[in-house]
Structures are given as structure tokens and as C-alpha cells.
């Protein structure tokens, strides 16, 4: 308690800075929530006030006008992409980190260089490719390009983990006669849960929020993912801010919950990027 009396001016300024910045983050989020609970006239009168009567009908309206479909599509695509990306990335990162094979360096450069390619640079051929493969306008048509885009980052995370993985464990397994695959699946993977969790979470966040490729490859409204569905809201329901903010909130809630539950993994995973 005596600490309060000893607050130095520096510390006071630091506190102020943090509080102001946190307010900058929280206040718009608060506005989002408030607007989603009001009807149109209330929004017009005072955008920043509490709603007089909490209006859950905005949420029902949003859900029924298509958010339900978008939500399910996003879930399908996200789960599919994450499973595919992380499993492939685990295999490649393990091979790159632990196995010395001839084209090791080529594979590594291949993955890292393609990581730097912005998807905007690929859109026309990608669009034509998906049409040729009859994959446009489907969830699988999104899962494959997303996986191609997600493998590099997941590989970076898992590679830096596997490099530090103690080789004694693998050596003793080898002495017992295990081959490379048995070592990978029975020993290394169960012990790599934190890194795999981190890769999964980051992939989930990236996939759930992806907009560019979805807007390119999907034209059938029933197949839209959430970001795409949200963006059409702006055109169709131009002045219905209440339901629009409700849909935004619905789209944000799953990741928000995931974030609050798994912060530790995200922070640790990203913090290691400096290596």
C-alpha cells in the first residue's frame, strides 16, 4: 500500500500510457457490442450510449440472414485446413530438422521462398486452375490453396521446435530397433504437443479470418465463409448497422474464446520467431 505514495513520475506516465492505449483498444470493441444491441433509431441518436432495451433480435436476424451458413462453412474449411496443414508441416519439419537427405536444402529453400509470395500475385492462374480442377465454389477449393499458404509458417514454427528436440530420446529408440517413422509417430509427436498446438492455433486464426482467396474463389453464396459473408452484408444491408455489428460480433466470438483459452501458446509461438 505504501507503494502508491512512492509512484515516480516515470511510472505514472507509463501507467497513463498503458491505460490510454488499452482504452483505445477496448472502446471501439465496446461500441461494437453496444451497436449490435440497439435498433436503428437509437444508433442514429447517440452512437456511443448504452442501448435502452437490449435487442437480441439483431442477432437472430443476422443468424437467419445467412450467418448460420457462413459460420458452418467457415468451421468446415478451418478444421479441414488446419488438420491438413499441421500434419503435412509436422512431417516436413521433422524431416528437415532431423533427417539428412539429399534434397534437404532444396526443400527448405522451396518452402521459405514461396512463403514470401503474396497471394495477390497468383490470383489469375489460381482462379483458372481451380476452375479447371472443378474445385471452384467448394470448400475443398479453399482448403487446398489455404494449406499451400499455411505450410510455410507452420513449418517455421515446428522446425525451430524440432531442431531443439533432444536427440538422445531418438537415439535410444533407434537402439531399440525403431525405424524413422516409428520414432516420429510414437515418440516425437506425443512429446511435441505444445509446438503442434501453437501451429494449429495460428492456422485456425489465419484460416477463419481469410478473405482474399475466398472472395476470389467463391461465387456461390451458400458456400461463403464468414469474412466473405460479412463483406456482402455491407452492400446488401447498407444502413442496418445493428444486425451488421451483430454479425461481426458472432464472427469474432469463436476466435476470441479460443484466444482467451490459449493465449500462452500463441504468445510463446510468436515470441520464438526472432530466432
Amino acid at each position: 500500500m505504501s507503494n502508491l505514495n512512492k509512484l515516480k513520475p516515470n511510472q505514472l506516465m507509463a501507467y497513463l500510457f498503458i491505460v490510454i492505449y488499452c482504452m483505445i483498444i477496448l472502446v471501439p470493441t465496446f461500441w461494437l457490442l453496444m451497436t449490435s444491441l440497439k435498433n436503428n433509431s437509437e444508433i442514429f441518436v447517440d452512437p456511443m450510449a448504452f442501448p435502452k432495451a437490449v435487442l437480441l433480435s439483431n442477432y437472430m436476424k443476422a443468424w437467419d440472414s445467412g450467418i448460420k451458413d457462413y459460420f458452418l462453412n467457415s468451421m468446415l474449411v478451418t478444421v479441414g485446413t488446419t488438420c491438413l496443414t499441421v500434419s503435412i508441416a509436422t512431417g516436413v519439419s521433422y524431416a528437415l530438422a532431423k533427417l539428412n537427405f539429399k534434397i534437404n536444402k532444396i526443400v527448405y529453400i522451396f518452402i521459405i521462398v514461396l512463403y514470401a509470395v503474396p497471394p495477390q500475385g497468383l490470383l489469375v492462374p489460381l482462379y483458372n486452375l481451380m476452375t479447371t480442377l472443378h474445385l471452384s465454389n467448394s470448400s475443398w477449393g479453399l482448403i487446398f490453396p489455404y494449406t499451400a499458404g499455411g505450410i510455410p509458417f507452420a513449418t517455421i514454427i515446428l522446425y525451430s521446435f524440432f531442431i531443439d528436440f533432444p536427440h538422445e530420446v531418438e537415439d535410444s529408440a533407434k537402439i531399440d530397433g525403431a525405424n524413422n517413422f516409428q520414432i516420429l509417430f510414437r515418440i516425437v509427436i506425443p512429446l511435441s504437443r505444445p509446438a503442434i498446438m501453437t501451429a494449429c492455433i495460428i492456422q485456425v486464426i489465419a484460416t477463419w479470418n481469410e478473405f482474399f482467396l475466398a472472395s476470389l474463389l467463391l461465387s456461390d453464396k451458400s458456400q461463403f465463409t464468414l469474412p466473405l459473408g460479412l463483406s456482402t452484408f455491407k452492400g446488401e444491408h447498407m444502413s442496418e448497422w445493428g444486425p451488421m455489428m451483430a454479425s461481426v460480433f458472432i464472427s469474432v466470438i469463436p476466435l476470441l474464446i479460443l484466444y482467451l483459452l490459449t493465449q500462452k501458446y500463441i504468445v510463446n509461438g510468436l515470441g520464438g520467431m526472432g530466432k
Partner: protein
């Protein structure tokens, strides 16, 4: 310690195969096609592709909108680096070195916007910037300030600043996390020694913390610049490049040419330009990093 024998060679190849196949098909092949297709003229419905050689590129050099969009990308890159790096570093310094007790809660709050999709951010800030029901105009009115003439998203520079603000709101947390990790790696001894010499926290920040984070700062700058050239979502939803292509960025301009104007060959050409520029910027930054690291 890597295993080196025949079975590990085969295992390595088997494990890498899925990655190579998928990335080869969906990233590498389209990349090659973008480059070759830019020498043609075709659209979604055209029967074949018409060879035009370097005509697309010649047209690109004279395309005013392309230069506008490129400058907008540069604007995004510059402002983003300044805002995100400085705020991220200051926040990281305060939460990891200054006020330890508040750090966990503050970090959670500051990082939160990362999980919002760009579209959600665009819609939210679109509401804030709205001239009728937006919170910003409300604040302006109550403070007696005059709003910009064409609204917050109606003229080039005001709109770009507003868009960049929304983007930074989302991303400062990311920079903060990376900087926190970087600062955690600085040994406490340095700080103790400087305290004995009478250095206060601010002096320590500039003389110890910042210099020791130089490499990570360069990395953050690189990530930010690459992100600036990839930006698309926010602009597409907030202004769609308008009004009259004033807030166009290269990403949105490519889409405009490919699908609104149906000029796919030209769109490929712009894509190649984007790839080259992004590549050059990346190489330049890596070069600067290497020089600084010595």
C-alpha cells in the same frame, strides 16, 4: 544431430512429398503461370490467349492508377512502420520492464484485435468513420471540430490515414509480442550495472533496450513492409479503392483489372510487377539487416 543413411533419405523424401505436391500445385505453378501469362491478352470468356509480348508492360509503365496504387502501398508501409514499431516497442518496454504487475492483463487487451478478421475490423471502423452514425464524427461534433470535407473516407490522404489507423489498431499487439520476447533476452546485469551508474529507466530504454533489440526491430520492419505490399482486405471493404481509384493499392488494382475490366493478361502483368517490387524490397531489407548485424 541428423541421421544420415539410406532409410532416412527415403523417409525424408516421403515426408516432404505432400508439402512439395501441394505447394507446387497451388503456389509454384500459379507463380510460373502469372509470369508467362502476363505476355498475353485474355479474359474470363475469351477462347484462347492472344500473344502481345511486352505490350502489357509498356502500358503498365504509363498507367497513372498503377503509380497511385504503388504510392498508396508505400504510404501504408511507411506509416505502419512508424506507428506499429514505436507503439509496439513502447508497450513492450512498459509491460516487460516498467510495470510488471499490469503486464498480463494489458498484453491480453492489446493483442486481442489480432483475432478479429480484417473484414470485421473494416466493418467496425467503417461504422466509426461513418458520417451519419459514426462515433468519430460524434466526438468531432462534441469537441467542436470540423470534419474533413468529403468525410473520413472520401478523399485520398485522409482516407489512407484512416485505413492505416484501422490496420495499426489491429496489428500493434503483434509487434508488441515480438518485442517482448526480444527484450526478455537482454540480461538483467546490464540494467543493474547502469542503475549503479545512475541511469534512469528512460535512459536505460534508449541505451540498453533499443540497441540490443536492433535485429528484431529490423525483422519487425521487414514483416511490416511485406504486409504493407500484401494489403487488400481492409481497403477492399472500407473504400474498394475509391473514390475514383484514389485509395487503390496494387492488390485491389489487380482484382479490378482481372474481374471488373476482364483484362486478365494485364492483371497478371501488374502481379508480376508486385512480385518483383515485393521481392526487391525484401532483398533490400535483408541486405540492410546483414550490414547492421556486423
Amino acid at each position: 544431430m541428423k541421421t544420415s543413411n539410406k532409410s532416412s533419405c527415403i523417409a525424408g523424401i516421403i515426408l516432404s512429398l505432400p508439402a512439395i505436391v501441394i505447394m507446387g500445385t497451388f503456389t509454384f505453378y500459379p507463380l510460373l503461370r502469372t509470369i508467362t501469362d502476363s505476355l498475353f491478352k485474355f479474359s474470363l470468356i475469351s477462347k484462347g490467349m492472344q500473344w502481345v509480348g511486352l505490350n502489357n508492360y509498356i502500358e503498365l509503365f504509363q498507367d497513372k492508377i498503377f503509380y497511385t496504387s504503388l504510392l498508396n502501398n508505400l504510404m501504408v508501409a511507411t506509416l505502419s512502420i512508424i506507428i506499429q514499431l514505436s507503439l509496439g516497442t513502447i508497450l513492450a518496454a512498459i509491460t516487460s520492464r516498467g510495470l510488471r504487475k499490469t503486464s498480463a492483463l494489458a498484453r491480453t487487451i492489446v493483442f486481442m484485435p489480432i483475432v478479429f478478421s480484417s473484414v470485421a475490423i473494416a466493418l467496425l471502423w467503417g461504422l466509426i468513420y461513418d458520417m451519419n452514425v459514426g462515433q468519430l464524427i460524434n466526438i468531432f461534433d462534441s469537441l467542436g471540430l470540423n470534419a474533413p470535407e468529403c468525410g473520413f473516407l472520401g478523399s485520398r490522404y485522409v482516407a489512407m490515414v484512416c485505413i492505416i489507423t484501422a490496420g495499426c489498431w489491429q496489428r500493434v499487439g503483434f509487434m508488441m509480442i515480438i518485442m517482448i520476447a526480444a527484450m526478455a533476452g537482454i540480461t538483467e546485469d546490464l540494467y543493474e550495472a547502469s542503475t549503479l551508474d545512475g541511469a534512469g529507466p528512460i535512459r536505460q530504454f534508449f541505451s540498453i533496450t533499443l540497441p540490443n533489440c536492433k535485429n528484431v526491430l529490423m525483422l519487425c520492419a521487414l514483416i511490416t513492409v511485406i504486409g504493407a505490399f500484401k494489403c487488400y482486405d481492409l481497403i477492399r471493404v472500407l473504400t474498394d479503392g475509391g473514390p475514383s481509384h484514389q485509395t487503390e493499392v496494387v492488390g485491389t488494382y489487380i482484382i479490378y483489372n482481372a474481374f471488373n475490366l476482364s483484362r486478365m493478361g494485364y492483371a497478371d502483368c501488374i502481379s508480376v510487377a508486385l512480385l518483383v517490387i515485393a521481392g526487391l524490397v525484401g532483398v533490400l531489407q535483408l541486405f540492410i539487416n546483414k550490414r547492421n548485424a556486423r
